[in-house]
């Protein structure tokens, strides 16, 4: 096979326009397949970071929009293996313009850094954030995007809560993954609400002592409230985030069916091209056979050419796909998994393998026919 490599390369270059068009077409499709598979991978095979693997989220069993009493924390803390539990309340609201989308949470600052050790900020900023009731801490990505500096005022007009909050930026944090959230003091939110409507928790974020105890803790917490009027649902932070995606509809089905359509399209395109290129050189195959090439080596040469073209297409497609995932990472999105979307090497390798397989599969029938045509017939053949 290796000694035919120059022949395969030459064949691939003989009709440059066709080769380039085929490569472009295969590259576009494989790029798309790459992005979709990267998304699928991020959603359903994403690995939790070591910090994330320790966290659980408890919410009201009915829905995220329904709250729990804050007193639930006592019992949660008593579950063996629970190190800390913090209230995290989605605030929503509007910052300047409804189009400015980023997450805003009311939290307990004194517990935040225990639960999220990956949030890095300077000691002074941390102290200032802890000290001041109306302080807020924002992620680096938000600070850059909206040009908010330390000391700047941030006004949030509530939609879920009938309040307008005046916050002062006291800290800016960096985090490897999610640095596009705003955190402020839960007490400050409660103060702004009327007395009867305080002391609730949208979610509890829980820190476990080891990743192994996470499933057991989740079960124990939910069991405690099994017969209470307000029941809970506890799951790992990763599963909790996945819940948002399944809420959007049958995303899995959607992604898979598009992947299927794309793969089938590449198959068609490359089969078509290879059929055309083989048809063009039936006579040449005859000449090769007269020179002593066997049926199987001719089959190999033609298959090799198809594999070669689709491999180049695959490499270009992977490069474009990783460029696109970069763009997705920059875009504003609620879906946290997309913030770290990358084309993993394993996914890229899979794309290349799929590309080559499709190339070989699509050219198999024309190649088989060409290699089996008797010499005399093929020499007599006229395009």
């Amino acid at each position: 096979m290796i000694r035919y490599l120059p022949l395969i390369l030459k064949n691939g270059l003989r009709n440059r326009r066709r080769s380039i068009l085929t490569i472009c077409s295969v590259a576009a499709s494989l790029c798309l397949l790459g992005v979709l598979m990267a998304i699928y991978h991020a959603f359903y095979f994403g690995q939790a970071t070591p910090e994330q693997a320790l966290r659980l989220v408890t919410r009201n069993r009915i829905s995220l929009a329904t709250v729990m009493p804050i007193s639930y924390r006592q019992k949660i803390l008593q579950v063996p293996g629970v190190r800390e539990a913090m209230v995290m309340q989605w605030f929503g609201g509007v910052y300047k313009d409804p189009k400015n989308i980023f997450a805003r949470f009311a939290i307990e600052p004194s517990r935040l850094f225990t639960l999220y050790p990956e949030y890095k900020t300077s000691e002074e900023e941390k102290k200032a954030f802890l000290r001041e009731r109306s302080a807020c801490m924002i992620g680096r990505a938000i600070a850059d995007k909206y040009n908010i500096k330390l000391g700047d005022r941030v006004t949030l007009v509530g939609d879920i809560f009938p309040v307008t909050l005046e916050l002062t930026t006291r800290a800016i944090y960096d985090a490897p993954e999610n640095n596009a959230s705003l955190y402020f003091n839960l007490d400050y939110l409660f103060e702004s609400l009327s007395a009867g409507r305080r002391d609730f928790a949208g979610t509890f974020v829980i820190l476990a002592d080891s990743p192994d105890s996470v499933p057991r803790i989740a079960k124990e917490i939910d069991d405690q409230y099994r017969n209470a009027p307000i029941q809970t649902r506890t799951e790992s932070e990763q599963a909790f985030q996945l819940g948002f995606i399944s809420f959007l509809g049958n995303v899995k089905m959607f992604l898979l069916s598009i992947c299927g359509a794309v793969t089938f399209t590449i198959l068609l395109v490359s089969a078509n091209t290879m059929a055309m290129s083989v048809r063009e050189r039936v006579r040449e195959v005859g000449v090769l056979k007269t020179l002593g090439f066997t049926n199987s080596s001719i089959l190999g040469i033609i298959l090799g050419e198809a594999a070669f073209l689709s491999l180049i297409g695959g490499v270009i497609g992977c490069l474009m796909a990783s460029g696109l995932t970069y763009l997705v990472r920059q875009a504003p999105a609620f879906i946290i998994q997309l913030k770290t979307l990358t084309l993993e090497p394993s996914v890229a390798a899979l794309i290349l393998v799929i590309g080559v397989c499709i190339g070989v599969a699509s050219s198999f029938i024309p190649a088989w026919n060409a290699s089996r045509t008797p010499i005399l017939d093929s020499l007599r053949y006229s395009g």
């Binding site: 326009r17 066709r18 068009l21 085929t22 472009c24 077409s25 295969v26 590259a27 576009a28 499709s29 790029c31 798309l32 979709l36 069993r61 009915i62 829905s63 995220l64 929009a65 329904t66 007009v157 509530g158 939609d159 879920i160 009938p162 009027p229 649902r233 819940g243 399944s246 809420f247 959007l248 509809g249 049958n250 995303v251 959607f254 598009i258 359509a261 794309v262 089938f264 399209t265 590449i266 068609l268 395109v269 089969a271 078509n272 091209t273 059929a275 055309m276 609620f334 879906i335 006229s382 395009g383």
Partner: protein, 388 residues
Amino acid sequence: MAIPLAYNLRNLTVRKTTTLMTALGVALTVSVLLAVLALVAGLQSAFQSSGNPLQVLIMRKGSTAELNSNFTRGAYQDLKFKPGIARNQAGEPLASLEMVTVINLESVDSPSGMNVTLRGITPIGLEMREGLKVDSGRWFQSGRREIVVGKSIEKRYPNARIGSKLKFGRGDWEVVGVMSAGESAVNSEIFADLNQVSSDYNRSEVLSSALVRATDPVAATALINDIKTDQKLNVDAVPEKEYFESQTNSAAPIEFLGIFVAIIMTVGSCFAAMNTMYAAVSRRAKEIGTLRVLGFSRGGILMSFFVESLLLSALGGILGCILVLPLNNITTGIGSFKTFSEIAFRFRVTPLIMLIGILFALFMGAIGGLFPARNAAKKEILVALREV
């Protein structure tokens, strides 16, 4: 004189396999685009057929959905007698006080459950929903833990059939009926007696929203202004239609992804169509030479190949429409972060959508065919005749 169309048609039929493969490639691209458009159209029609143009929805200032809105009984008493509100035959004002919350229902699709809107409502509120009727069973009775479910809910959630019991609030609620109202959002909701729901949720005084019907369109505008400027009420009023239309954007993420996919697939398909047409041109070099000798102009050849490419892609467009037709009327659900609940709707492959698909295919054919056609037209007669 133009080259007859029959020449192109015959050429396409002679190269059956190539034609069909290229057309299928175009067809798949078109069908992905159409599937997304059909999804959005279905969702739009579900929301657009919800809401009466004369009706006005009243919520707390600043809230964007009924779910996070508050409206008190006291405010309702003030609101009810505002001028411009229509009355029913019995002379009661058409103003409905409602409470909205969500409950979790398990289904085959999502074993962990999906959120569904539960609406506490009074007879006046039922009267104000146009086309609302009970398909089977009966309406709930006031003061009892009984619920009526929308027909999409009955279809998608096995636990919500007539006779079964759902546990929420302070006890078990019996499903006593299935209701429907055209294609509207009501089909994805659960209705129950307002007083019973509000007492179960400890919200007897503070409910969610109010819906009022104005006597005519002019009165509706005046009523909205009147309510918005009323300092005592301190609420916001929006036309009911506008409220539902603003929820259509819950399909935005899927729409965005779908259009992104369609664009990249289009690029790929354009290259593929170009490839096919270039091959057609190079294989028919002699024919092109002959046509030129016969006196057909360069422009005529250009047109002919261009038209052939359009025909090829139109075939793809039609195939794409056929591929996507089975999706029509399939029911699916999508969650909205605005209402925190799921709305069921049906894919709608409308004639307009199919037309868009065919135009889109023609566009691909035009891009893919232009360069090869130019290439064909530029061939010199003698060179073309000598090519093998």
